[in-house]
Amino acid sequence: MTFTWPIILIIILLIISVVFNILGTIGLHRFPDVYTRLHAATKCTTFGTIFVTFTVIAYSVRLYILTEEAKFINMAIHTLIALIALLATNPTGAHALARAAHKMGVKPKKAVRDDLKDADQHKKKTVKKMVIKKDKAQGEVN
């Protein structure tokens, strides 16, 4: 194998993906609570998997140029669809998990403020006020 520039590009993309996936796994073990673990694991593995798909796209395009078989361009398109599915689903799932952890009552370690709790309480108060106003208005109509 001679090191022409497409091969070097593929190897660099592969190294980036492997390094980020392993860093995400290490972060899952090193961080102290749920939120920081979620931060490390989700961000790093999503970034790493995006680079895996880039690697495969570059590899299949190179093989298509070399052999001119239709199945390689097919492979590149399918990998692109996998990338889109991954980009749409992964951050949403992480967001849902963080929200669930907060509603479950898991406290962040070493944190002194809880902005989300304050925001929720404020929301509840305003909703209550609106409901009271609505009742009053309906009473006047009746």
């Binding site: 190897i11 796994t25 989700t42 593995t45 495969v56 669930a100 479950m104």
Partner: protein, 90 residues
């Protein structure tokens, strides 16, 4: 001389080792949310492994299965989160 396919198999092996390390978080995690985070990470790593093995074996079918796996694991994570929201604090 090393081939590109050999490098792909090496990357897949490293991903498999990462999956095994993530399984320890599922066993160790103090709360249920920690376990779910480990599970979510494993799902993403499995998708990455499937894509890279599909490229190494020249099989487009593996990549199709990776797409379906990504979407199904997303739905699973959403339902686990929905279940945890009603749970009791530990």
């Amino acid at each position: 001389m090393i081939d590109l396919n050999t490098l792909f198999y090496a990357a897949a092996t490293l991903f498999a080792i990462s999956i095994i390390v993530c399984i320890f978080r599922i066993f160790l995690g103090p709360t249920a949310a920690d376990r779910s985070v480990g599970f979510d990470t494993i799902n993403t790593l499995v998708v990455a492994t499937m894509i890279i093995l599909g490229a190494a074996m020249w099989e487009t079918l593996f990549i199709d299965i990776a797409i379906v796996y990504a979407i199904l694991s997303f739905i699973t994570t959403l339902f686990i989160a929905k279940y945890l929201e009603g749970g009791v604090a530990e």
